[in-house]
Each structure stands twice: as structure tokens, then as C-alpha cells.
Amino acid sequence: MDILQIVGIGLLTAILILVIREQKPMFAFLLATFFGIAVFLALIGKIGGVVSMIEELADRSGIQSVYLKTMLKIIGIAYIAEFGAQIVRDAGLDSIASKIEFAGKMLILVMAVPIISIIIETVLGLLPAGGGA
């Protein structure tokens, strides 16, 4: 039922935006933003359920919690960056949207730095003349 509600509100918002955009483009942008936030807030409980399920799965399989935390952070960064970029793109500012996406990509890559450093350290340590790491 939730999906029907969300689709209904989405259609309504789209019609409203189309009507308002002619008169006040600013309010159209605000309406789109509010709709996005409302959908996000409506689904936050379900996201929490999915996350707790994944956490339980990871806990049972003995996977390190650091991995799971990092993965969830990556998903969060990806979603937030995407959300922000789309809102800005809706406002007609593609360049700003691409900057937001770039920031998201960089933050995701920063998450990989410790893993890469550990792997490189290990490989250097394995080599006989690896500088005594």
C-alpha cells in the first residue's frame, strides 16, 4: 500500500510542480525537495529494518563489523550524493550536481585507502627486500 501512496503523492507533486513552475520556479524547486525528503523519511523505518537484517546476517556469519559498517557508509554516501545531485539537477544546475557526485565518489574512495594500505604493506612485507616492513 505504501507504494500506492508514494506514487499518488508523487503524481500530485509532479502536477503541482508543472503548474507552479510557470509562475514561481523557486516554489517548484522547494516542492520537489520536500517531496524527496518526505519519501526518504517515510522509508527510513524500512531502511532500518533492512540494515538490521544485514547486520544480523553479518554477525552470524562472523564477518568483521568494520566491513559491514564501511559498506553501509558507502551506500549512505552514494544515496545522499545522488539525492543531492538530483535535486540540484532539477534546479537546472548540472555543474553543481556533477561536483556533488564527484565529492561522493571521492568520499567512497577514501574509504578504500586503509584497505589498500594494508594490502600494500602486506605485499611489501612479503617481499624479502621489502624494507623490513
Binding site: 544485514i54 562472523g62 559498506m71 552514494a78 567512497i108 574512495l109 586503509p114 602486506t122
Partner: protein, 235 residues
């Protein structure tokens, strides 16, 4: 072995499943390459986990610290480096202080054991050596106590029950002798008994070590097996 292998396999499967799930959850394709890179690295890390922890023991801690840095480091910048340096310095100083405190505690315990043994058993103690090591929960635990008693000959010459001998003249209970002659023998005998015991105590040293060990164990809560008592052979 099989258990560890099973655990490792389970971790690998879980990491792959997690990566697939995250790939599925991604909002669009722009981030896909980057997320795949990180997920692939995680799978690689899980696959090589046993090898990594074999080569560098504290891999998990290092990884956790690295991720902490990745979240905070770039934003904090130089201050973070300074803070880290200060924290490291504080840890070093704290460790030095702990070591000093442990040394002091050991010295104090040695002095107390020496005083108690000398007071309770009346034997001269040459040295007391306490070996303590930090236990798993960070507290100091006594590993062994070595008590070296002074040579009995010198000990007897030094102290040897002389105070007791001096007491004897102070007991002119001879006054009682006038009252009852029958009881006198018993009393005389009783009075002689401690003196005899005192003189006997020096040769009968077989139980002295055990007694001292039990005394130290009971007084300081140290296991009897950890207390070692011996005699100084060279005076």
C-alpha cells in the same frame, strides 16, 4: 583447523553476498565503479585474511584505525596529526609512570614481607625478591616471591632469643613457692618449657620454610606455590 577453515569460508561467502547486495542497492551507475572497487577490496581482504593476520598480527585493529582515520583524517588535517602525536606521547609517559608505580609497589611489598617474616618467625631475612608481571586486565600480579633467610649461625648471634633470656630474671615468681610446694614443680616446668622451645626452634628448621611460606601466603594473599624460601649458604 577445519573449524577455522569453515569460519574463513563463511566469511568469504558473507563478504561476497554483502558486495552483491550493495551493488544491487546502488542508486545509479555513476557510483558503481567506485563501489565495486571498494567491495572488491573487501572481498580480497577477506580472502587473504588469514595470511594478513599471520603476517601482521593486529590487522583488524590497524584496519579499524585506518577507517577511523579515513572518516576523520582528511577533515581534521594537521590538528589530527598533532593530536595523535600528543596522544602517543601521553601514552608513553603513562606507561613509564605505570612502570615506576609497579616498581614502587614491588619494593613496598618486599619490605612488608621482610618485616612480617622477621616479626612473626623471629628469623633474620637476608633478601626478599618479589617478581610481578602485569596481568591480562592491566593489574599487577605477583608471579613469585623468593625469600632468602640469613644464615642461622649469624642470625642466632645477631638476635637468637636473647630478649627472651633477659625476661627470665624478671620472673621472680619464686614468691609463690611459699604458698604451695606441690604446684611449684609444675610451674617451674611450665616456665622452663618456653625456654626449651626457644632453644629447640633453631635446630628444628625443617618446618620453618613451610611456615614462612604459609605465613606470607596467608597474609598477602599469594599462592603458597609462588612463595619460595631458602637459606643463604654463604652467610
Amino acid at each position: 583447523m577445519i573449524e577455522a577453515l569453515g569460519g574463513w569460508l563463511r566469511q568469504v561467502v558473507a563478504a561476497v553476498l554483502l558486495a552483491a547486495l550493495i551493488d544491487l542497492l546502488l542508486p545509479n551507475r555513476t557510483m558503481q565503479r567506485y563501489v565495486r572497487l571498494v567491495a572488491g577490496l573487501f572481498i580480497l581482504l577477506t580472502l587473504a585474511g588469514p595470511l594478513l593476520s599471520w603476517i601482521q598480527g593486529d590487522m583488524d585493529a590497524k584496519l579499524a584505525a585506518g577507517i577511523e582515520w579515513a572518516e576523520r583524517g582528511p577533515a581534521v588535517g594537521e590538528d589530527g596529526g598533532q593530536l595523535e602525536a600528543i596522544m602517543a606521547e601521553a601514552k608513553r609517559i603513562g606507561a613509564g609512570r605505570d612502570e615506576q608505580a609497579a616498581e614502587l609497589a614491588v619494593k613496598g611489598l618486599e619490605a612488608q614481607i621482610k618485616a612480617v617474616v622477621e616479626q612473626e618467625e623471629g628469623t633474620a631475612v637476608k633478601t626478599v625478591k618479589v617478581e610481578a608481571a602485569p596481568s591480562a586486565d592491566g593489574t599487577l600480579a605477583v608471579e613469585a616471591v623468593k625469600i632468602r633467610l640469613a644464615d642461622p649461625g649469624t642470625a642466632a648471634a645477631a638476635e637468637g632469643g636473647e630478649p627472651v633470656a633477659e625476661v627470665e630474671p624478671v620472673a621472680p615468681v619464686v614468691v609463690d613457692i611459699d604458698i604451695g610446694t606441690n604446684a611449684d614443680d609444675g610451674k617451674n616446668y611450665d616456665r622452663a618449657a618456653p625456654a626449651a622451645a626457644q632453644t629447640d626452634a633453631q635446630p628444628a628448621d625443617d618446618g620453618l620454610e613451610g611456615r614462612i611460606a604459609a605465613l606470607v601466603a596467608g597474609r598477602f594473599g599469594i599462592g603458597t606455590s609462588k612463595v619460595e624460601v631458602d637459606r643463604a649458604s654463604d652467610g
